[in-house]
Symmetry: C3
């Protein structure tokens, strides 16, 4: 695998076109913190499969367009080369594109929206990175969340853009307990699998498998933490009595998966303490996901990966308490560096 | 013009009373980033015209009272002289006064509210300035927005203060497309004009003209960027299918006007790249305005200039990407300095 | 009193078990900024009285469990000894436990929730402390507020946890003035007393007295500022026409009490200017309390001490304007130090 990647890297160094492809693939990989073009390619294949199998190829093309536009925008903005090359200007864009194409009806203005969202996501990424740098944090997927929330909220004021899969605005009400069905082991297993694919807003077992393989080619422990995070999240949601459809659809598990990868393998040096800390983070991300689902009910927008961002930032800030990856105690690496650990 | 201003400045140096008038006029000018007493006087005239013509002189007096109180509060708080003299302690106060008198019914408690809001707006301005300084940002109109939001929200819990022009609390619902009327060029022109006057919560063509003149006497490019921002905002809102009344009333354009001035003429050295960047900011401010209108629907309060503040902060943070005004690459000037560029 | 405390301190130094008790008592005292085990013991007695008298002893045990768990979690997280010993890892936990047991029905999952909330409150405390340190701020009770909000919001998505005293989700609507009853001096006095006990979510006169005594044994001026803050808050709410039940129940006064103590006695050196500044802060905390009550209406969760946190942070940030406690002008002491002023 390493030989293949070195070959590819050599080819990229001699061709601007290949380098551009490389940058975009790494951008897709960075959605799960992997600075690895092969991982990105497998992730992209997973997204393509999920979109085409669901009869919605335009979602895949929305993600692809946003990915390319955000890389181009980053070049126009003269982002430092090493940041660009690590794929750090693409991971928010591709998610913005996928989310807009998932939640809004196709049409000319959707594509305008996708292009605008991709450009803004890069600006927000650069801005948020600057703002949280001194706290030892990185932007995570907050630029994706913020940009998409504003764009989706605005559609309720625009006749040109129609929601198709947006939640309905409603008042917060006590949970109806009869909606809880007894789940068997197969339902829970389905929830675990779809928790992995929902990181890219997909509900497909094949996609989930491709995501896991993509993680494994980059780092086997990461794949295990992702899977472990999904299992723990589904069990937590089940024990607390969450709605069955949310559990089996993976909708309470995709944010915890990201928390598990970040806290367990990216930010800190692996140890039993770190694994325990990550587990607490995963459980609390399930709580935060349920909380944000409720808090966003009056606004009729989805929580996206906001629960992951909030809990991860909170759990990364007390950096004196756990051993960080970079030797220097307590300093969480900037994601450029952190993501190199698999190279 | 310069000779006149120098004469005025000499007079101010010999009289405490004139200096106090000067400080307050500059405070009004700083609402659009102009540290210029003549600009402030023209803005104040515009506000007076708008209030009296609409049969609501108490709105003008609310703004005036809050302006004076916030200057006095700043002196009591021993704010550094250069900050005070640049009018940076008045621009939030005058907006708080205008907004409270616009949205609440007249009465004794309104004036208590105006005084309290003015004092708090200075404290919040000092606090927010300190907090965002290290990010190379200034407080912008965030102190006005935060103070006014809290004061307006609280009125729903107080029998002593009645809303008269507050939006009705409602659930977020899909936009009714039949509310979109075909707009002609005159309607759009009206929207452009009122976008300028709505910066001070006024809907008056004469006021808009006075605002433009006020900007022009301080800096012609600023007046052009304000106008250009209004045109771009109205066109964007129209293309996206926003509600006609919001467009023609200037209610989707006043925040973008501020974004255009700030990004295009205050923060960065003018260039084609900067103008493009500012244009993206203006378009996204329209999105943010529509988004906040929706997001605030359940709370029954207006967005004020929050969309401008959010988008401007996001677009100022990636300061390494564009050339700032102050030679030192990437450092956005503190607003004391930045506003001196017209002196 | 000092002799007694020195005796106790000597005993603690020779016994790990006593030290652990000491740390937990100081944690309770730190809810009102008192690093004093006797104060903590009196506060704990007040909470016990309030819970047992109201026929809800499980609330007291919820607070106690969370207190102990958060101290243990802090030790597992290897929090610096001086931070732990000052009780700074317990004050959020005890409030989380009290709030969860107050607002949720008893049951096995409640206790899971209390333990999880206590652990997370320590992590959030460490994180927020790091984040706001450079602004000269401390975490205050924000970790309690954030953790409890997320846990309470999530219950609307979980069948396993039932709200018993949560507000009902509703739309924001104009205040019904006929709900305002003329209050007499006895009603207002009741409001003052309960404002003190509601800091710990209790509505009991005996508890209020124990809280006042607990403050007085640590610092007489603090007790006076707490009482003065409660009086000013109740009068402000009454003049503005707040709902009678909220006033007499102390529900608009507990956040202002904390603001009064912090601004008046902890952060700045006492003076007439500081007292005036604290008074403005108290009045604005009443506004913020009413505002947050409204803003949280659509989410069906209580404001907790968020109004205190928001207003205090805003009023502490302009640190150049008032004389801080620590000699060095403008630097608000970290709460470890600040709370030592009574030792």
């Amino acid at each position: 695998m390493t030989a293949l990647l070195m070959e590819w890297d050599k080819a990229c160094r001699s061709s601007h076109a290949l380098r551009f492809v490389d940058v975009n693939l790494r951008g897709v990989g960075q959605v799960m913190f992997q600075n690895n073009p092969l991982t990105g390619a497998l992730f992209l294949a997973a997204v393509a499969w999920g979109s085409f199998a669901a009869g919605a190829p335009h979602i895949f093309f929305g993600g692809l367009l946003a990915l390319v536009v955000s890389s181009l925008a980053a070049m126009w903005l003269r982002v430092p080369q090493e940041k660009l090359n690590a794929g750090l200007c693409g991971y928010n864009g591709v998610l913005v594109g996928l989310a807009l194409a998932t939640f809004l009806a196709p049409g000319p203005l959707l594509w305008v929206y996708v292009v605008l969202g991709a450009v803004v996501s890069v600006i927000v990424m650069l801005g948020v990175s600057n703002a949280v740098k001194d706290w030892g944090l990185t932007a995570l997927t907050f630029p994706f969340v913020l940009t998409t929330w504003l764009l989706l909220l605005a559609t309720y004021g625009f006749a040109g853009l129609k929601g198709v899969a947006l939640p309905t605005g409603n008042m917060v009400a006590a949970f109806e307990p009869f909606a809880v069905d007894p789940l068997n082991i197969i339902d829970l297993g389905r929830g675990v699998v779809l928790s992995l694919s929902q990181v890219f807003l997909k509900a497909s077992g094949v996609s989930a498998l491709l995501f896991l393989i993509g993680l494994a080619v980059s780092s086997l422990p990461t794949a295990l933490f992702a899977l472990g995070g999904a299992v723990l999240a589904v069990l937590t949601a089940h024990v607390l009595g969450a709605e069955s459809d949310l559990i089996t659809g993976g909708l309470l598990g995709f944010s915890p998966v990201l928390t598990a990868i970040l806290l367990g393998t990216v930010a800190y040096s692996p140890s039993l303490r770190v694994a325990t800390y990550a587990a607490i983070g995963v459980v609390f991300t399930v709580i935060a996901q349920a909380a944000l689902n409720v808090a966003l009910t009056p606004f009729a927008i989805p929580a996206l990966t906001a629960p992951f961002v909030i809990v991860s930032w909170l759990f990364l800030l007390p950096r004196q308490c756990l051993e960080s990856r970079q030797g220097e105690p307590g300093v969480v690496a900037s994601s450029d560096d952190a993501s190199h650990h698999t190279a």
